[in-house]
Symmetry: C2
Subunit: 329 residues, 2 copies
């Protein structure tokens, strides 16, 4: 299998992007992910062609407050999975950075560790445009790595807000990483993260009172009535030296088996697929709205009338809505 | 004018919410903003009725990295504006907090300062649902305070990511707050914030090398070619003791005069109005999509077919799109 370099030649024959990608070209994957981040219209056709090859990878979401060592934990899990012969995808999302400079730098630093390893693909995602596009772009990046045969795929989010919660919700298992002493912080502010966790990790367990934090998380889970169904385990780790990392992976596979036995994984993926279809549909509709309102000057005219006080914005939207769906009326 | 308490009686006569609000009831305003945050369908009718009373307030966006003293600066400006007899609205947005507990606490603490002052209205906004709704909800909250005659209205964002940039973009003047020593940080990571700033504040100027930070910001502005048109001033403040705060307000009014003279304010508000109409339209369309796909079971059926491998998600979205716009075909 021939390896292509990114040069003018391959750029111009972008019709073969999908083929290159299915042959395993990380450069082709990186290029398609960039198109996806830019919401380039060409990306839709490529993603459609990749679609039949997706749905195989197990997707593991990793989230938690900044500074808890999420990347170190993901790297430690990746080393173990590589020894087992698995090809690992890592997608790191940083919604707080509107520009990708920082993300790209982080990629380079992390890639050095695996730079000679074709079995690991690391990619950072940044909000190039609006934040609304980050969650779908992450989903598309997962699909691309999935089609290339990376399995499992980690989706790691750097922050701890609503966007991150939305993003890790698209995975098959969610690991929430914390550190000793962060208990109170999480308890008061980050309830959203606690609710979505299926495996809890107390990292840097060699510093501070890890036992107490573990007990606090368990108490919170009990209070939340989470003891029914899957009982989220709380694992103590020191990701830097690998301690406890095997146990985290075992917990992930146990969660997978639990979901497979109960039909929950199928249900979870069905829900995700529905959201994906709706998202593609909404994007198409948004394009149509743009064509029929912005390009025709109709929006300009109506906005002007609202600024003159002849019309309120809600009635203006109503008129556009009618023109969109009842063009004959 | 009678003051109503929030009790079961006023809740049931919510038809008068708009009237109460226009009479100056802060309770009515708080209730309508809650409806707006929840994307409650009733809010649309209320906002439409308020629409004729909006468009008067000058909206001042305040953003910058965490810990730079944005709230303290806004409070200091508010005290000056109150002495001038102005009624001031303050909307504090924290996109990093998916739950409103923290925001509400912050409200209470800040309100103590102005609790006996009917001329100040402070409200925190949190992401109750998806993050995509926070920017529009903030715009609606501005409209509500505007209709009540608060002028100016501060929109203060706690974080420093893309959402915050989107939110402060909806204001008439944007103040970016930084502190001595943060120069490098801003230079590398927060370029998005630098691009939108129209007035720069180096707060806590009594700590660290404020002169150097001021010089760095000026150098960056020059590098960015920002010297054409409006030349963003850089003001040193110690918001805690009020030092320099008058100058910040003078800079805001100078920026306002500049925009009014050049027709830029009208242009800015026209663009904002267009975005607002499009946003209302997209919300209506999203409802229609929900009705015609989710409720009818069509989405379930198509998702199932994609999971069986009969169809890809892009073709499924295509079928839904056609059903939506070409129901006869």
């Amino acid at each position: 299998m021939e390896q292509h370099r990114i040069d003018q030649t391959t750029r111009s024959t972008s019709a073969d992007l999908v083929e290159e990608l299915l042959k395993g070209s990380q450069q082709a994957a990186a290029r398609l992910i960039s198109l996806v981040e830019d919401r380039d219209p060409r990306s839709l056709g490529y993603l459609q062609r990749l679609s039949p090859y997706t749905g195989r990878a197990y997707v593991i979401g990793v989230t938690g407050p900044p500074g808890t060592g999420k990347s170190t934990l993901v790297d430690a899990m990746t080393r173990i999975l590589r020894r087992e012969g698995k090809r690992v995808g890592i997608i790191a999302v940083d919604p707080t950075s509107p520009f990708s400079g920082g993300a790209i730098l982080a990629d380079r630093i992390r890639m050095q560790d695996h730079s000679t390893d074709e079995g690991v693909f690391i990619r950072s995602m940044a909000t190039r445009g609006s934040l609304g596009g980050l969650a779908p772009a992450t989903g598309d990046a997962v699909a691309i790595l999935d089609a290339m045969g990376y399995d499992p795929i980690f989706v790691e989010t750097v922050g701890a807000g609503q966007v991150e919660v939305d993003i890790v919700r698209t995975s098959d298992s969610v690991i929430v990483v914390t550190v000793p002493g962060l208990g109170d912080y999480i308890q008061t502010l980050k309830a959203g993260i606690m609710e979505i966790g299926e495996i809890f990790v107390v990292n840097k367990a060699d510093h501070g009172d890890a036992e107490r934090t573990t007990a606090e998380i368990k108490a919170m889970l009990e209070l939340a009535g989470r003891q029914e169904g899957w009982n989220p385990p709380v694992v103590k780790t020191v990701a830097l030296n690998g301690s406890g990392v095997e146990e985290v992976l075992s917990a992930v596979w146990a969660h997978r088996a639990y979901q497979e036995t109960n039909g929950l994984l199928v249900e979870r993926r069905r829900r995700r697929r529905k959201e994906e279809i709706l998202r593609i549909l909404e994007e198409k509709v948004r394009e149509r709205i743009h064509r029929s309102t912005v390009s025709t000057g109709q929006l300009d005219e109506l906005a002007e009338r609202t600024l003159q006080g002849e019309l309120d914005p809600y009635s203006a939207a109503d008129l556009l809505y009618k023109a969109l769906f009842l063009p004959g009326s």
